[in-house]
Symmetry: C2
Subunit: 144 residues, 2 copies
DNA sequence: ACATATTAGTTGCTTTTGTAACTAACAAGG
DNA sequence: CCTTGTTAGTTACAAAAGCAACTAATATGT
């Protein structure tokens, strides 16, 4: 805002961020939801495994700042849908390595490219400079 | 991102937006939650009434793009906590005008100034130009 | 070795949200 | 008037998220 006494809901960053996040999330949701019956956390798990390779649930929690119960439930659901499989780590049986099945990998490839495309349609609205600033600010706020 | 083949979760706008939104929401939550036992939607309702004057639930829904069940429940909760009261509109008894009680007004004043302060602490991290770009982009994405 | 603490992951219970069906009040056409 | 449609708001039920307590495996200090 420019004047302090005109401070408005639309000047309030948490509100703005939420609205923007909700709009994009809703839009992109249709992909993983309609096509693969996935939930947001499930899509994130698939993204992590597809993009960075096999890892444990805890690693996914750390990288995505997601609570472990959410990931645990996502893993269970993805396993039931045969998108991922788990393997207990012999050296430390508390850990289990998660990996994509062939159909999980196919879903990932599809969703990965859909994500890229969707990102571009949002990005296209802005200049290169605007984009850089936007992303840098968001990353800073998110603390990543 | 700069290279397409480096597309990463942190380059994906919906993800970035969500992370940033969650961080700020969590931080600001502590105010209305701890001090007044409010939920996010309740705080939004209070903000609307305090900032723009009395209005109906539907007007709040429209202005904040919030679903009516959420507002309905927030109104019920706020009424129980004696922060707002309703008055059926005589000319059209389907409508009810919502207005803040004295304690609701006091909570609003407190939270309004907390919001402004909080916004500034986030804003302070960025230059004036960056801020303008950030807010303009978010508003555009949010479609407001 | 053994009690104690940590870590990975799950489960149960509560709170919050989403969706759809519902009531009540009004509007409009015949 | 009286059917049909619309609008404001609520409620009931289902999906999802948050939180805390739990199990199982391992690590640590004595």
């Amino acid at each position: 805002m420019s004047k302090k006494d005109a401070f408005d809901l639309k000047d309030f960053l948490p509100y703005l961020l939420n609205q923007a996040a909700e709009v994009t999330s809703r839009e992109f949701q249709t992909y993983y939801r309609r096509r693969y019956g996935m939930l947001r956390t499930e899509w994130r798990v698939v993204f992590h495994l597809g993009r960075y390779g096999d890892m444990t649930a805890t690693e996914i929690c750390d990288r995505s700042m997601t609570h472990k119960t959410k990931v645990s439930r996502a893993v269970k659901a993805l396993e039931k849908k045969r998108f991922i499989k788990r393997t207990v780590v012999e050296e430390d049986k508390r850990n289990e390595t998660l990996s994509l099945t062939p159909s999980g990998r196919a879903a990932f490839r599809d969703l990965f490219s859909a994500a890229r495309t969707y990102d571009e349609t949002v990005t296209r609205q802005f200049s290169a400079d605007e984009n850089d600033v936007l992303r840098a600010c968001l990353a800073k706020i998110a603390g990543t």
